[in-house]
């Protein structure tokens, strides 16, 4: 598969590491993993680590927005960290930066998610 998803929990944050390419073909994989994890226990926040994401198009934006809306209902927040330059351009255009927390590193994202909650 051209996308791998790795998850771990740190406090109240579900950390999702994406490895590979996120498009219409692979977006359902991420959605399913996150929904499964969120059903397991009351996750408050989600952090998507994009350090090893090599490609993302607007299908990624749609998937992120979908998770964001689900989180909002439960009072949770969303963050994205380690955004590669090419993906930054796509995210910027979508206006996602206005509603989602952006961080340079996973650690920074987690502490900001926890402080603000």
């Amino acid at each position: 598969m051209s996308l791998q998803v790795e998850t771990k929990r740190i406090g109240q944050v579900l950390c999702v590491q994406l490895i590979g390419e996120l498009d219409h073909h692979t977006a359902p994989i991420v959605r399913d993993v996150i929904e499964t994890e969120m059903n397991k226990s009351a996750t408050l926040h989600i952090l998507i680590n994009m350090k090893r994401l090599t490609f993302m198009d607007s299908s990624g934006i749609g998937m992120i927005l979908g998770r964001y809306k689900q989180l909002l209902q439960k009072g949770g927040k969303m963050a994205i960290s380690d955004i590669p330059a090419n993906i930054y351009r796509v995210l910027e255009m979508s206006g996602l930066f206005k509603i989602i927390l952006i961080a340079d590193s996973e650690q920074q994202a987690i502490s900001r998610l926890e402080v603000e909650s």
Binding site: D23, H25, A27, R31, F55, D57, S58
Partner: protein
């Protein structure tokens, strides 16, 4: 001498072919010696246009035919992505940022906006029940060594 090159690609409307299509176009364009950023942008727009053919044009049927023509002339590239699917009724509405006819599929409505922003030119023509064609153009500034 102005360099000229041309390729035509057709494939079935299967989502597994989205990455195939962007790799192929990127490989063709690479003879223009694009920067990493330019190559990433090309991959993104191809992915947008091809995904649209599959989701919207053929509504996820897997036996539709998606066509890509790419032409290099000098330092410019023209890429045409087309389907023979359902077509677009209202082109102006379709091109609005954030507009999508399939919010239930978690579409963001940003496909055309990305194509317009990442390319120099983005022309869309469509006939309902006949299909849709997107023509994208971009100019690359060749590095000195390649101009010889």
């Amino acid at each position: 001498m102005r360099r000229k090159n041309r390729m035509e690609l057709t494939f079935l409307s299967q989502s597994v072919n989205e990455s195939f299509a962007r790799i192929t176009v990127a490989a063709f364009i690479s003879q223009l010696n694009p920067t990493m950023d330019e190559l990433a942008d090309i991959k993104t727009v191809i992915s947008e246009a091809v995904t649209n053919c599959i989701i919207h044009g053929y509504e996820n049927r897997e036996d539709g035919i998606v066509s890509i023509v790419a032409e290099i002339e000098g330092e410019s590239v023209m890429i045409e992505i087309s389907d023979r699917g359902r077509g677009i009724e209202n082109l102006e509405l379709a091109r609005q940022p954030m507009y999508t006819s399939k919010p239930e599929l978690e579409r963001s409505g940003m496909g055309f906006t990305i194509m317009e922003n990442f390319m120099d030119e983005c022309t869309v023509t469509s006939t309902p029940h006949e299909g849709t064609k997107v023509v994208l153009r971009k100019h690359f500034s060749l590095s000195e060594e390649l101009l010889n």
